[in-house]
C-alpha cells in the first residue's frame, strides 16, 4: 500500500517536472563553492559562506558596498546623542519578511537583544559589546543605548542581520537559540531560501517584494563542490556560472578560456596571513592564565625581528605561493580596508646584507661556525620553532621559503604543522612557541584587527605575540572614542606605523580574492571593479540572462 502511494507520488513528481520544463526556463545562476555554510543559524555560524547566504537572505541596518564603504540598508536615518551614547535609528516601513509578515523596529530590537544576551553566539556577540539596551518605542524607531561612545557603530551593525521575532522568539531562551537550525531561514533580503541540502546545494529564489529592486534572476543555486578541482572543472564545462574562490593554480587555465573571465582584487573581508613572533616577556608572563612564555629570547629583540623582516622575500612568496595573485603586506590593516590602510609606510625591502649586518651589529654572531648565529652571550643558537595549522596548505610552502632565506642570515627553523587546536593550546596566553604562521579574517572596520596587539588582550589570549606598547594602547583607546572620522583615520595609520616599526608580526602579503565567471550566460557582471565578493547583493541583482 505504502509502496503504491510512493509510486503515485513519484509519477506526479515526474509529471510536474515535465510540466514546468516545457515553460520558459527560469534564469538560474549557479555559483560553485568549495565549502558550504556550517549553519544557517547565523548566531553560531563561523564560515564566510554562512555570512554570504545571510547577506542575500537578510536585511541589516547597514550594508557593505563593493568599494568597502557602509551604506544604509534597512535604516533610513540615524541620530546620535551628543555624548555619543544613544543612537536613534529610523528604519524603512513596509518591509516584509519572506513569509509575508511585516518587519518592524520590534524585530530589530529583538535581534539586537537576542545577540546581546547570547554569549554562545561566538562571533556576533562581540558586536554588541558596548550595548546597554535596545528598544523599539514604535514600529519604525530603534533606540540603542551604549555604555561608551564608539566611532564605528555602522560596522557593528552591518553583520547583525534582522531576524523575525515571530519565529525566533520560540528559540530565544537558553541553549535553544544556539541549537536552532533555522532551515527556513526567513529573512527580508533580496533572496529567499528555497531548498537546502547540507554539503550539496542551497537554492535561493528571488524575493519579488524586495525593497531594493528585483533581480532579473529567478534563482541562485550555490553548489557545494568538495574539491577545488571539481569546482574549476565545472566552471569550464558550464555546469556553473561563477566561482568565488578560484585556486591560484587554476588562474592561467581559466584565463585561457574565452568564455570565462577571471577577476581578482583585494577582498572585502580579507584573510590576513601573519608571521607571528612570540615576544611575550617572561617577566610579565600571564601565569594566572596558564602563561609559560617560553619564546626564544632573541625574538624579543626588535633588531632581530627587523632583520628577519629584511630577510623575508615577500615578492617571492607571492610569486610562488600565490602565483603572483597578491600584493606585499605591510602592517596589520590590509589594503582591502581602503582608507584605513596606511599606504605611506615604507616596507623593509628584501636585503640579506642589511639583515646580516643588523644581526652582526646587534651582537648575534655565529661563534661556533655551524652556520647558525648564537645569542650575544653565546647561550643559545638562533634556532626557532615554527608552527602552523596543518589544515593550511600554503603555510608549509611559506615555511620552506622562510627557512631558506632566513637560513642565509644564520637563523634556523624547526618546522611543524599542528592541528589548529593544538596550536591554540601553545599559542596564547600560554606563549609556548617561537614563531607561528597563522592569520586573521578582517572586519570592514579596522578595530577588530587593531585591538589584537594591545596589552589588555595579553591575558585573554587575543594578543598572540605578547606585544605591549603603552603608546599603541593609548592610541587604540583614543581611536575607539574618536568620533571625528578623519582624525580616527590618522590615528589608525599611526598605529600601523608603530606595529610596522616594532615588527611583532611580519605580514608577508595581502592575497587577492579571485573570482571567475562565465560570460556566455549572463551579462552585467561587475567585472571592472577591482573588488570582488558576494557580500554586496547588488552584484547579483545587476545580472541579466543572455537569451
Amino acid at each position: 500500500m505504502k509502496k503504491l502511494l510512493y509510486l503515485l507520488i513519484l509519477c506526479a513528481l515526474v509529471l510536474s517536472a515535465c510540466g514546468t520544463m516545457s515553460a520558459k526556463p527560469p534564469a538560474v545562476l549557479r555559483i560553485g563553492w568549495a565549502q558550504g555554510p556550517d549553519s544557517l543559524n547565523i548566531g553560531v555560524a563561523w564560515l564566510a559562506s554562512a555570512y554570504t547566504i545571510s547577506e542575500l537572505t537578510y536585511s541589516s541596518m547597514y550594508e557593505l558596498k563593493l568599494d568597502g564603504t557602509l551604506a544604509f540598508d534597512l535604516g533610513t536615518d540615524v541620530k546620535r546623542s551628543d555624548d555619543g551614547l544613544i543612537y536613534t535609528f529610523t528604519i524603512r516601513e513596509g518591509v516584509k519578511f519572506h513569509d509575508g509578515q511585516t518587519l518592524t523596529a520590534k524585530d530589530v530590537a529583538f535581534t539586537y537583544n537576542l545577540v546581546k544576551d547570547h554569549e554562545d553566539f561566538p562571533t556576533l556577540h562581540s558586536y554588541t559589546e558596548h550595548f546597554v539596551s535596545v528598544e523599539a518605542p514604535d514600529d519604525k524607531t530603534v533606540v540603542i543605548t551604549l555604555d561608551e561612545a564608539i566611532p564605528n557603530i555602522e560596522s557593528k551593525l552591518v553583520f547583525l542581520y534582522i531576524l523575525p521575532e515571530h519565529i525566533w522568539k520560540d528559540h530565544s531562551a537558553g541553549d535553544a537559540a544556539a541549537t536552532f537550525e533555522n532551515l527556513e531561514m526567513i529573512g527580508s533580503g533580496p533572496f529567499k531560501m528555497l531548498e537546502y541540502k547540507p554539503n550539496e546545494f542551497i537554492r535561493l529564489g528571488v524575493n519579488k517584494d524586495y525593497y531594493g529592486g528585483t533581480a532579473s534572476l529567478d534563482e541562485v543555486i550555490f553548489q557545494i563542490f568538495s574539491s577545488n578541482d571539481a569546482l574549476v572543472q565545472s566552471l569550464k564545462t558550464g555546469q556553473i556560472d561563477l566561482i568565488t574562490g578560484v585556486p591560484n593554480t587554476s588562474v592561467e587555465l581559466l584565463k585561457a578560456d574565452s568564455n570565462i573571465k577571471v577577476v581578482s582584487g583585494s577582498p572585502l573581508s580579507p584573510d590576513l596571513a601573519d608571521i607571528i613572533f612570540n615576544i611575550a616577556d617572561p617577566a610579565n608572563c600571564p601565569t594566572d592564565d596558564g602563561g609559560l612564555c617560553t619564546g626564544h629570547p632573541a625574538l624579543r629583540d626588535k633588531q632581530v625581528r627587523q632583520a628577519l623582516a629584511y630577510a623575508t622575500d615577500k615578492q617571492k612568496i607571492i610569486d610562488i605561493i600565490l602565483l603572483g595573485m597578491g600584493e606585499t603586506g605591510v602592517a596589520l590593516v590590509p589594503s582591502g580596508l581602503g582608507e584605513w590602510f596606511n599606504s605611506d609606510i615604507k616596507d623593509y625591502a628584501f636585503n640579506l646584507d642589511t639583515a646580516n649586518q643588523m644581526l652582526d651589529d646587534a651582537g648575534y654572531k655565529d661563534t661556533d661556525g655551524d652556520g647558525v648565529r648564537e645569542m650575544p652571550d653565546g647561550s643559545q643558537p638562533l634556532i626557532f620553532r615554527m608552527n602552523w595549522p596543518s589544515s593550511d596548505t600554503t603555510a608549509p610552502r611559506m615555511a620552506e621559503l622562510l627557512s631558506e632565506t632566513w637560513g642565509k642570515v644564520g637563523v634556523k627553523l624547526q618546522m611543524q604543522g599542528m592541528e589548529s587546536d593544538a596550536l591554540t593550546a601553545i599559542c596564547c596566553p600560554v606563549y609556548d612557541y617561537d614563531i607561528m604562521l597563522w592569520g586573521w579574517v578582517a572586519d570592514p572596520d579596522p578595530n577588530t584587527l587593531l585591538i589584537i596587539p594591545t596589552t589588555d588582550q595579553i591575558p585573554t589570549g587575543y594578543n598572540e605575540t605578547g606585544y605591549s606598547n603603552p603608546k599603541y594602547d593609548e592610541l587604540y583607546e583614543a581611536q575607539g572614542r574618536e568620533l571625528d572620522h578623519a582624525k580616527r583615520v590618522e590615528m589608525v595609520h599611526e598605529m600601523q606605523a608603530i606595529i610596522h616599526e616594532d615588527v611583532p608580526y611580519i605580514i608577508p602579503y595581502y592575497a587577492f580574492a579571485i573570482e571567475a565567471h562565465r560570460t556566455d550566460r549572463f551579462t552585467g557582471w561587475l567585472d571592472n571593479e577591482t573588488k570582488v565578493g558576494l557580500e554586496d547583493p547588488s552584484a547579483l541583482l545587476a545580472l541579466k540572462p543572455i537569451e
Partner: protein, 342 residues
Amino acid sequence: MNRWHLLQKKALWSLFTIAFVIVLNFFLFRVLPGDPARAGIKDPRLTPETIEALRTRFGLDKPVINCFKTINPLVLGACDVNPLETQFVIYVKNLFLGDLGVSYYYNRPVEDILKERLWNTILLIGLGQILAILIGMAYGIFAAWKARTVIDYGALITGLIAWSLPTFWLGIILLFWGSSHGFPISGKSTPGMSSYPLMMQIGDLAKHLFLPTVTYTIVYMAEYMLIMRSSLLDVLSEDYILTAKAKGLSVFQILKDHALKNGMLPLVTVIAINLGYTVGGVIQIESVFSWPGLGGALYEAVNRTDFPMLQGAFLLIAVSVVVANFIADLTYSYLDPRVQTG
C-alpha cells in the same frame, strides 16, 4: 560447542569489543594532546565569558570522571562528584539514547549528519565489496584452475600490482582520467539534481558512484583474487578433489561442488579480518572523490578539529566493523560445518 553457543559467545565478544571502543573513544580524545574544549571554540579572539558559555553548551565544564577534572592536562578533582554528572557517564548515557553530541562545525547533532553519511558509505562499500568479491573470486578460481599457465601468471602479476597500488593514488589517477571523460569528479550527486525526475537522479548517482566504486573494486578485488587463487590451489590439491575426479565428475562440477565452498572459507576469514583495514581504504576513496560518507566525515572532522564529529565517526566506523565482523563470523560458521557442529 554448538552453533547457538558460538553465536552467543561471538555476540558477547562483539559487545565487549564495542564497549572497549566506546571507552577508548572517550578517553582517547581526552588523553591525547589537544584540548577538545579549545577545539570547539576555535578562535582565540572570544571573550572568556563566551568560552565558558560554549564549554557549558558542549558539556565540557563537567569533570571527566570522578576524581579527575581533566585528564590532559591532568587536573585532579573532587571524588565525591555525582557520577551521573561526569562527562563519561553523560557520554555513555547519551550514546544509549542515540545522542552523539553536537558537531562543533555544523552545529547540528552528530547523529543526524552521520546517519545520512552512513548510508552513503554503505552504498559505496556494499557495491564495491560485492563487485570485488564476485570478480575477485571468479578471477581467482579461474587463475587457480589454469595454474602455471599464462592466465595464472598474468592474474598473479596484475593482482600483486593492483594490491600494491595506494588506494588514494589509484583514486587520483582514475579521477584524472575520469575528469576528461565526462565523469563527475566529486560528491554523490550533481547539485540541484533532487529537483529532477527519479530516473535521472539514479543515473546521476550511478555516474557519481562509478569512479569511487571502480577504485574500491580494483584495490580489494586484487586481494580477494590472490586469496581465492591461493586457497583454491590448496583445495585443488586436496585428496577429495582427486576423489571427485575419480568419481568421474567434470571439471566444472568439481569446481562448483567441491572447490568453491571450501576455497571460500579463507576468503571469508580474510574479508572479516580486513574489514577494519577496508575502512581505511574508504577514508582515502571518500576524501579523493569527496564522497559524503563516514570516511569523508572523519577526514573532514580531522581537518576541522570537530571533536564530536570525529568521535562519532570513529565510533560508528568501529562499531560497523565489529558488527560486520560478527556477520562474517556467522557466515563462516554457516559455510563450515566443522564450526557448526564440531
